[in-house]
């Protein structure tokens, strides 16, 4: 798999638990509304484990990880 990863935030669902920040340090932040924001448009495959952990640890189920094909 050589594609990129895209983290999709369901903004209304996010409640600012901030669990994703600890799960994926440096990859996600919270904005001025305390809602999760991605720090990159897309992420490399090497960030997959951290991003999946962030998805799993969101109590609000506000995160989804998508695979982006190279083509």
């Amino acid at each position: 798999m050589t594609g990129r990863l895209k983290l999709v935030v369901d903004r209304p669902a996010c409640k600012g638990y901030a669990n994703c920040l600890d799960a994926a340090p440096g990859l996600i932040d919270l904005d001025e509304h305390d809602v999760a924001v991605t720090l990159a448009e897309t992420y490399p495959e090497t960030d997959r484990a951290a991003l999946e952990r962030a998805v799993d640890r969101c109590p609000a189920h506000a995160l989804r990880l998508d695979q982006i094909d190279d083509a």
Partner: protein, 448 residues
């Protein structure tokens, strides 16, 4: 609480106040239910990781859960933030409990938390709490004492409570039968799907006392259900329990004088399996009865201990092999009780046997069961007719069989001379009094 003027168990005179007084009820909530071992559920209700069953202990809501590693826990179903019930479902499957009030979220997922029920996330953890809330200190309150007794899950809130087996004593023969299939294999039972829950306008102790060994109420209260043939043999059989004609229902009652448990019948008496209207049911139970007799002889288990019986304070049951069911009387107020009934079937019962038993249990017990309706009438009207200021002046009489007992082969138990007795009730209420007045565990277990 001082019960001196209310409770004279030795002479069989007990004030109505212990059934209708709010002060006594509050003392029960403070000193009895938070210390006694209470039934929470059966492990067959939560077979898979993430399975949960919402139960009760006294007036408190608890969650019986199986975590991601398969371990069983009992957790207080109340958010640590504002007390909201974090789970309002009767049963289901989830590893995360998200409180609907402010969103505090707890988990039993071992990949997310180190302790089952730990607080796993709170909304606005960074912006609102500055990331400083100690989530490890604010998990769902775990019940400190949990015992899996051949599949039955018991729990106590008191860290100092004796081990369940000591609390149970030799009464275990009745519980062992409850946990055994019709062939006598221990642990080989499951809950027939669904727990019946309903409320009655009666004090909870009427339920315990009824199944504790009160054979006295049977003939007056249940004559009509025998007459219509509610038993497995229909109108051709002698009784609702399916006893063979001429066979006594029981020969004695057994009472644990210190521990407070009690049962109709003894370890020495086996009623036998009933003959059914349906030949295939009779054939199944005949096979099982033969297997049970062989097994029990080989294992040195006594032939009897069938019940009905009550495990102090509030779990009552028919120990089986037929019928086999249990109930817990949860207090709601001095004058109201929520009854939960579980029906047990052999884990490997053929579908037609399990289905027949389900239908039998429904016509016999529970809110729609004819025998239980007889009992509920008595409990409800007794409570109502005991509440008035005039009625409360006059105590209840528990003198049936006073002084008419003989030693049992079981530790700490006696058997009644006659099968109708209130010895069991007298010992139950003496035990009840020890808890409610706040005796220490060392005092409670002395001589037990």
């Amino acid at each position: 609480m001082d019960l001196t003027d209310l409770l004279d168990a030795d002479n069989g005179v007990i004030s109505r106040e212990i059934f209708v007084s709010e002060a006594v009820y509050q003392a029960e909530l403070e000193h009895l239910f938070p210390r006694a071992w209470l039934l929470v559920g059966h492990e067959s209700q939560i077979p898979e990781p993430g399975d949960f069953f919402s139960s009760r202990m006294g007036t408190e809501s608890v969650l019986l859960t199986r975590d991601s590693d398969g371990a069983v826990h009992v957790l207080l179903n109340s958010c640590r933030h504002r007390g909201m019930k974090v789970c309002r479902y009767d049963e289901g499957n989830t590893l995360n409990f998200l409180c609907p009030y402010h969103g505090w979220t707890y988990s039993t997922d071992g990949t997310l938390v180190s302790v089952a029920g730990e607080l796993f996330g709170v909304p606005h953890f960074r912006a609102g709490y500055g990331g400083k809330l100690d989530r490890s200190a604010w998990g769902l309150v775990p019940c400190p004492r949990v015992c899996n007794y051949h599949g039955l899950i018991f729990a106590s809130w008191d860290p100092d409570a004796p081990p369940f087996e000591e609390y149970l004593g030799d009464f275990h023969w009745w519980l062992d039968n409850l946990c055994s299939n019709a062939s006598g294999e221990i642990g080989q039972v499951r809950v027939a799907r669904g727990v019946q829950k309903w409320r009655i306008r009666a004090n909870w102790k009427f339920v315990s006392e009824n199944f504790l060994g009160d054979n006295y109420h049977g003939p007056p209260s249940h004559e009509s259900v025998d007459a219509v043939g509610i038993g497995p043999g229909g109108t051709s059989a002698a009784t609702r329990h399916g006893a063979a004609p001429g066979r006594p229902r029981s020969i004695a009652s057994t009472s644990f004088t210190r521990l407070g448990h009690g049962a109709t019948g003894s370890v020495r008496y086996f009623l036998g399996y009933p003959a059914f209207e349906e030949p295939e049911l009779t054939a199944y139970f005949e096979r099982c009865e033969a297997a049970r007799a062989t097994r029990f002889e080989a294992e040195g288990r006594p032939i009897g201990a069938m019940g009905p019986a009550t495990l102090f304070p509030s779990m009552s049951f028919h120990a089986g092999p037929f019928p086999r069911a249990l109930m817990v009387a949860h207090p709601v107020s001095p004058w109201e009780t929520e009854v939960w009934r579980w029906y047990l079937v052999d884990a490997d019962a053929p579908p037609e046997v399990a289905d027949w038993l389900r239908r039998y249990y429904l016509r016999y017990s529970g809110p729609g069961g004819l025998v239980e309706q007889d009992d509920m009438e008595n409990w409800d009207y007794a409570t109502e007719a005991s509440r008035g200021p005039i009625a409360r002046r006059y105590p209840y009489n528990y003198q049936l069989g006073l002084g008419m007992t003989q030693p049992s082969s079981l530790r700490g138990a006696v058997e009644s001379d006659y099968f109708m007795t209130e010895e069991n009730a007298r010992n139950f209420y003496r035990r009840w009094g020890e808890f409610v007045r706040g005796d220490s565990w060392s005092a409670l277990m002395a001589g037990a």
